[in-house]
């Protein structure tokens, strides 16, 4: 893997930093957030339905 020397000493780039893995994690984050958003929407509609 890629190695870099930085002012705080050498820093190793791992599998974790690989761009493909990052993209996979990004998609997971996105789905999690989308589900949260949909749940909030449904919860507020339901609160209206149950409230009346």
């Amino acid at each position: 893997m890629l190695k870099r020397r930085t002012e705080s000493g050498p820093m190793e780039l791992t599998e974790h930093d690989d761009i493909r893995n990052r993209r996979k994690r990004a998609v997971k984050t996105a789905w999690a957030l989308a589900i949260v958003a949909i749940m909030i929407f449904v919860a507020f509609i339901l609160s209206g339905v149950l409230g009346t």
């Binding site: 890629l2 190695k3 870099r4 020397r5 930085t6 002012e7 050498p10 820093m11 780039l13 930093d17 761009i19 990052r22 993209r23 994690r25 990004a26 998609v27 984050t29 996105a30 957030l33 989308a34 949260v36 958003a37 949909i38 909030i40 929407f41 919860a43 507020f44 509609i45 209206g48 409230g51 009346t52």
Partner: protein, 540 residues
């Protein structure tokens, strides 16, 4: 200095932009092009919303109705707010996020480029739909941007278009926010820890969480309005057992975080600009991050201060009053930190710095009148008067909009590779800063003297200040044409080439790139070291 020990073969094609017009703009997945689209779109909306404000100020120039019928006046106030909030200010900040976040955290692009394209291209359709209602038989929405039922339910068939337009804007904002969060959490260059991120990135991260939390709430509220209007439900209809006040609670549960959505990125931009032109690190970086987070948290528990007159129980009123007063603490920390950043600096006053200082002063005036409005007993007088209009325009116009302009002048040389005209930038600032006060300051007087908001005509005792305010409005409106002139000149005509760093005191990863930056910013993650980034974790 740090050196990369392994050289990486650069992508030969990394600076090739798509050649066709449609390929470049319609199908684009590039964060910079999408950022540009957002910014151009929001500028267009700023002028459409602004021309509605000119209609409003022209009608209010003198007592008596001279230009428009009251119904159309109400459509103008409603549309002005919807366009400015959802069409101008919010997309402008998303535009800044698109352009700057990948460059600031050392990423090649946004995490989800295709969704990025989609979240922008929904907007033109949403606003075409919203604006088209003005040409329909039943006219545009006229119940205020707050869409309070039962009044909003009296609108005709065009109301369905308004609701769907709001849905589309909401979807666009949510997708934009998901992208921002996914990018910031996953795409930072190795070594760019959260507490090394520029403050603009921090404020946007928090803003994006606010958006995801509250845009679905707005979507739910307008959906219930839609079914009340067209499908005979009674969510908010008292006659059918519904509760019109419940809508106000839901709306402001969205609405109060919404106003912070418009101001938090402004805090971020100002926190980038003031250190640059003071040639001094931002004072109290960590405190700024925590202050932003506390403001975001508090925004969820203060909503009913918009509703002190609906007849809440006394304990409820007291709770919302105290919670609202608390916001003054983190907001105060921010203002003190900006002043301390300037303190003992070596300041110069280029246009971005002028707008940033204008922001600090005038936003603080709006913040202080906000503290006054928090006093529930006094708010029973202030509520729904021009005092409120003055207050929120101070925080939104010389607040949020000035920060947008500061950011535009600050990064324009980076984006285009050319310097803008400093002389015209300064003229733009001074004319705007003086006229915006002539426009909004007298509105404090009008409100205290008893003029309600959202009225097309007024008693003659309010005539003088309305005329002064209108004159300020016309000058402010016209002076924004200077802004367009400066941008057009900078993009197409300016011969003065910008360096990569652009500003002497500028720090941060975006300034390590050329001006204009390569089409894909950091194909190789940059090395993070204290000489290039603006903030280094504080040694305690």
């Amino acid at each position: 200095m740090s050196i990369e020990s392994h050289d990486i073969a650069h992508d030969d094609h990394h600076d090739h932009k798509p050649s066709g017009f449609l390929d470049r703009w319609l199908y684009t997945t590039n964060h910079k092009d999408i950022g540009t689209l957002y910014l151009v779109f929001s500028l267009l909306m700023f002028f459409i919303g602004g021309s509605m404000a000119m209609v409003i100020r022209a009608e209010l120039f003198m007592p008596g109705l001279q230009l428009v019928e009251p119904e159309f006046f109400n459509q103008m106030t409603t549309m002005h707010a919807l366009i400015m909030v959802f069409g101008a200010v919010m997309p402008a900040w998303v535009g800044f996020a698109n352009w700057m976040i990948p460059m600031m955290i050392g990423a090649p692009d946004m995490a989800l480029p295709r969704m990025n394209n989609w979240s922008f291209w929904i907007l033109p359709f949403a606003f075409t739909m919203l604006l088209s209602t003005l040409f329909m038989d039943s006219g545009g929405p006229a119940a205020g941007w707050t869409l309070y039922p039962p009044l909003s339910l009296q609108g005709g068939q065009s109301f369905a278009f308004v609701v769907f337009a709001v849905h589309m804007m909401g979807i666009s904002s949510i997708m934009g926010s998901i992208n921002v969060i996914a990018t910031i959490l996953n795409m930072r260059a190795p070594g760019m820890t959260l507490l090394k991120m520029p403050l603009f990135v921090w404020t946007w991260l928090i803003t994006a969480f606010l958006l995801i939390a509250v845009m679905p709430v707005l979507a739910g509220a307008v959906t219930m309005l839609l079914t009340d209007h067209f499908f005979g439900t009674s969510f908010f209809n008292a006659a059918g057992g519904g509760d019109p006040v419940m809508f106000q609670h839901i709306f402001w549960f969205f609405g109060h975080p919404e106003v912070y959505i418009m101001i938090l990125p402004a805090f971020g931009v100002v926190s980038e600009i003031i250190p640059t032109f003071s040639r001094k690190p931002l004072f109290g970086y960590t405190a700024m991050v925590y202050a932003t987070a506390s403001i975001a948290f508090l925004s969820f528990i203060v909503w009913a201060h918009h509703m002190f007159t609906v007849g809440m129980p006394l304990t409820g009123e007291l709770f919302f009053m105290y919670a609202t007063m608390l916001i003054a603490v983190p907001t105060g920390v921010k203002v003190f930190n900006w002043v301390s950043t300037m303190w003992q600096g070596s300041m110069t006053f280029e246009t971005p710095m002028l707008f940033a200082i204008g922001f600090v002063v005038l936003f603080t005036i709006g913040g202080l009148s906000g503290l006054m409005l928090a006093m529930a007993a006094a708010d029973l007088q202030y509520h729904d008067t021009y005092f409120v209009v003055a207050h929120f325009h101070y925080v939104l116009v010389p607040g949020s909009v000035f920060a947008l302009m500061a950011g535009a002048y600050y990064w324009l040389p980076k984006w285009t590779g050319h310097m803008y005209s400093e002389k015209w930038g300064k003229i733009h600032f001074w004319v705007s800063a003086i006229s915006v006060n002539i426009l909004f300051f007298p509105q404090h007087y009008l409100g205290l003297a008893g003029m309600p908001r959202r009225i097309p005509d007024y008693s003659t005792q309010f005539a003088d200040f309305n005329m002064i305010s209108s004159i300020g409005g016309f000058i402010f409106g016209a002076s924004q044409l200077i802004f367009v002139g400066v941008i057009v000149h900078c993009v197409y005509k300016s011969r003065q080439v910008a360096t990569g760093r652009v500003w002497e005191g500028a720090k941060g990863l975006e300034w390590t790139l050329s001006s204009p930056p390569p089409y894909h910013s950091f194909n190789t993650p940059p090395v993070i070291d204290s000489t290039t980034i603006a903030h280094v974790e504080e040694a305690h």
